[in-house]
């Protein structure tokens, strides 16, 4: 018995010494043991419902990101593979929660999407916060930052205080100044619509402009004629709408029926920046109108390469927030590589470390090199297609580039870019 105990103690000691030695060798060479795992990215998109037009383009972007990650992992010699699972949130918080459960049951450890704040809050409160599963929604409402997310929510989409600022700058330039100019605001009664409307109102009035409204309306109202009459009353200099496509389809028909509405005076937020104009929105309401949405710096190599990549792949054409969703997918993958494991809490811990000027800059065109650097323990700074990712303490990107586009013959055409931080 005593001999057996001695033998066990000897073997344990040898194993410990060998382990410490191996660890020391790895530390001195700067290489961490290569992990081997398959990471599942869960993509929550609104393929149907009010935000339906945004679902397919976002899904395509995350699919492209997954393909890029797999290709880069192979080039970097990592035994890591990425797969993507997707589910329809139906633009509805309850359906989104059910979709999130479905994806997590399928092994998703990092979620891209959903597209709206109510959906994000439902998922956060019921699942992701407790289980420390990171989520990168394309919802932009500032309301999402009024809750304790346990450092699980990261956004590649700039928050709406910046979008409201971009809208203000766009309207101001169109009207040749804000002083004395009246803008009528209409918004859907949701955290997104209300937040944008109120922030716009504050900024516009601070510049000396006047506000008519803001006029909120419920998406389930049977009619919008009285609201439309109030919005066009007195012929304001511009109209600003923060709404989703389905509801705006009904509201815009009512606006056109007043006979006092002109699309040339209309500015809309990113949820309506859809191209081509959906059949549910009268074309006369949007042709000639302007839209603001989070944009990508067009001149960068990664933005140009992404444009080619996106357009050469089958599926929908470019749409609002596709670059942001692509970046979300890439960030999920890079964080898993940095964590060296397919563990949600470790991925959530690594996500903020991929941002900020402290690290070496890498774009998605250098993904393999970025992965090698991460495995070597080097801190990187992911410079996304949508701009450099610089998460603040709350997990929001501080990029402020917006596209100002206009509809011509039913399609969105870029007019110019706006830096909301100007």
């Amino acid at each position: 018995m005593t001999r057996a105990r001695h033998a066990t103690a000897l073997i344990t000691s040898i194993a410990l010494i060998l382990g410490i030695a191996a660890g020391g060798a790895m530390m001195t060479s700067g290489v961490i043991a290569a992990p081997s795992f398959t990471m599942t990215i869960g993509d929550l998109e609104p393929y149907t419902g009010d935000l339906g037009p945004l679902g397919a383009p976002a899904d395509k972007a995350v699919k492209l990101a997954t393909a890029q990650l797999n290709q880069a992992a192979k080039q970097a010699g990592l035994a890591v593979t990425f797969k993507m699972v997707t589910a329809d949130t139906r633009s509805d918080p309850q359906a989104a929660l059910s979709a999130a459960r479905q994806l997590i049951d399928q092994g998703a450890t990092c979620l891209t999407g959903p597209a709206s704040t109510p959906e994000s809050l439902a998922i956060l409160n019921s699942i992701t916060k407790a289980r420390r599963i990171p989520m990168l929604p394309s919802a932009s409402s500032t309301r999402l930052r009024t809750v304790d997310d346990g450092h699980t929510i990261f956004r590649t989409v700039p928050p709406d205080n910046l979008q409201a600022r971009a809208l203000v700058l766009a309207v101001k330039q169109q009207l040749g100044g804000a002083q004395g100019k009246t803008v009528a605001i209409g918004y859907q009664n949701s955290p997104y619509g209300e937040g944008l409307a109120n922030t716009f109102k504050q900024s516009w009035t601070a510049m000396g402009g006047r506000i008519q409204g803001p006029f909120g309306y419920d998406p389930n109202q049977p009619s919008y004629d009285t609201e439309a009459a109030k919005i066009v009353a007195g012929s304001p200099d511009a109209f600003v709408f923060a709404d989703f496509p389905d509801t705006f389809g009904k509201v815009s028909a009512a606006l056109l029926r007043t006979g006092k509405f002109s699309a040339a005076k209309l500015f809309v937020s990113d949820a309506l920046a859809v191209s081509p104009i959906p059949a549910t929105i009268p074309a006369a309401a949007l042709n000639g109108a302007h839209a603001v949405n989070a944009g990508s710096p067009t001149g960068t190599p990664q933005a140009q390469a992404f444009n080619t990549l996106y357009l050469s792949a089958p599926g929908p054409k470019r749409s609002a927030l596709d670059a942001n969703n692509f970046d979300s997918g890439i960030l999920c993958g890079l964080a898993a590589v940095a964590a060296g494991a397919n563990t949600p809490s470790l991925i959530a811990t690594q996500l903020p470390k991929l941002s900020g000027p402290a690290g070496s800059p890498f774009t998605y065109l250098q993904l393999a090199a970025a992965m090698r650097a991460l495995r070597a323990g080097t801190r990187i700074h992911y410079v996304g297609v949508s701009g450099p990712i610089e998460f603040n303490a709350q997990g929001d990107t501080s990029a402020g580039t917006y596209d100002l586009s206009t509809w011509k013959n039913g399609a969105l055409v870029l007019v110019r870019q706006i830096n909301a931080k100007e």
């Binding site: 006029f215 389930n220 049977p222 009619s223 009285t226 389905d246 009904k250 009512a254 029926r257």
Partner: protein, 373 residues
Amino acid sequence: MPSSWCDRSTPRSDPRSAATPTRRAAGADGRPGDRAAAVLNAARSGTPPPADARAAATGAGRRWVAAACIAALAALLASRGAETAAQATINGLVTGTYFALGAVGLSLVFGVLRLVNFAHGDMLTFGAYVALFLNAGSGWPIVPATLGGVLATAALAAASELAIWRPMRARRAGGFQMLLITVGLAFVIRNCIQLAAGADPLQLRLDVTSAVALPGGLRIGTVELWVVVAGLGALLAVATLLRYGRLGKEMRALADNLSLAEVAGIDTRRVILATWLFAGALAGLAGVLSSAAAGILTPNFGFQLLLSLFAATILGGIGNAYGALAGGLLLGFAEEWSALFVDARWKLAVGFVILILTLLVRPNGLLGRPALK
């Protein structure tokens, strides 16, 4: 127009059940049996039933409604000006028309069968989707497509009577079981529509952006104008039929006392089936008209309207078809007028506040008669 063709305000057990004892038919003491006997006599003779003591209360209800509407209009004119007030009234008329159509069907079913039909909203959706399929899918013009939607919904309602409600009554199912079945049926209809047509919003082939200019700078959408014309025409036809038609009188007799009506030789099965056909047709028409006015159709739209339809039914006097008509129109006006004073986000809530206030003053609704003591 009778004061109340099938008033449900008198408490009773469940006369639709075979287990319910037959009420006394004779006597002149104002008991429900007398009302039933009077309606029966009227049905046989073809003359309108005599007014009873409670009619006076209904008359007071009408005066109350008229006074409230006039006061609201006066306040509106004084504070917002004639053009704004008139435009909001036109908008309210559009909304009120399809509220009324939907509410009358709901009230008919409750009046005759004492059934709170939670599937009624989804019957609206069904009618609208059939019309959509015929109009946008098969290229039919809107009028025949609307008729197709109306007939299909009437057929669906009749099928539900034959397949569900009649067998359930034969099994003496209680009111709560029946109510739960209506909730289940609502989900079945909605999910079938979603399965067949998808969840994406769809549109009838109509120009919802054009409008007709009226005197005084007022406007009404072209489609909305047709909605009002068709809706009010249908409501007038239904009111006439209920008032003067033999079927309307038979419905009233059933509503007052089913067992007595049966004893008197009325074919209650036929009348109940006809009630479902009517309610279904009205629901189908309300569905097509409301989706045409709104411009967009989703599988949830009827369910979203259901609460307003219930509100209109209760506001008018539950089980009273004329009350439902008045309640629907009043709710439409109230919602649009309120948008001129309060944030439009509260428009839907305003309708329910008015409902609560009305019930506080008149617990039986605007045209409902008080129960006998």
